[in-house]
Amino acid sequence: MDRRSTIVRTLTRKLFPFILLYGCYLISHGHLSPGGGFQGGVIIGSAIILLGLVDGVRNAEKRFHENLLSLTKNIGMIIFILLGFAGMFMGYSFLSDFLPRGEIGTVPSTGLILLLNLTIGFMVGTGIAVIFYRTVRHKL
């Protein structure tokens, strides 16, 4: 069944990796420029939503299976809390910054902020995609 326009499908397939790349850029440079974990994660999630809207959820699930996305979301939440406890084991308080820092203005300039941004970003992106899958395929 092919009721979607060819232009939209082709454009989506060409544009999809660049949307993902932009989301990853926003996440990884969240502490240097506007953006951050939530915003970049939403962009990643919207890329998967776009793929699901254009190609159909079944075809989108061949590349991004729902169980894989849900697992990523759960693991992201667990890693967030484990990073907090790691600070406690290193002798600081919960969720405090314990990693060494690089030069200010480069990507590794903040220790824990980058890792927290990464976990939040992947958690939000996959979580939004999971919500979209479940909501679209829900039949009353």
Binding site: I81, G84, I104, I113, N117
Partner: protein
């Protein structure tokens, strides 16, 4: 009668809104914002001060946000059922 009532309600609402707008919100009460602007980059290493605040100074708040999002996604995942094989997708 109805129009007079509407006018009276609008006047009362406007009076309250006027009072609310004229409150003095411009005074810095604690001076913590000046502290963040002065010391945020040196203490956290993040050039983006918004990120410095929500992932370093106020990271418990972010943990709560992430938990709320996780719980909502988990709720949707649990409540809405999966499509059976052969059923057409939306």
């Amino acid at each position: 009668m109805k129009r007079i009532l509407i006018v009276v309600v609008l006047i009362v609402l406007g009076y309250f809104i006027l009072n609310a707008v004229q409150l003095d919100y411009g005074r810095p009460r604690s001076g913590i914002s000046e502290y963040y602007v002065a010391n945020g980059v040196a203490e956290t290493g993040a050039l983006n001060l918004v990120t410095a605040i929500y992932l370093n100074y106020r990271v418990y708040d972010t943990l709560g946000e992430a938990t709320v999002f996780f719980a909502s996604a988990l709720g949707v995942y649990m409540l809405l059922r999966k499509l059976k094989k052969g059923e057409p997708d939306g």
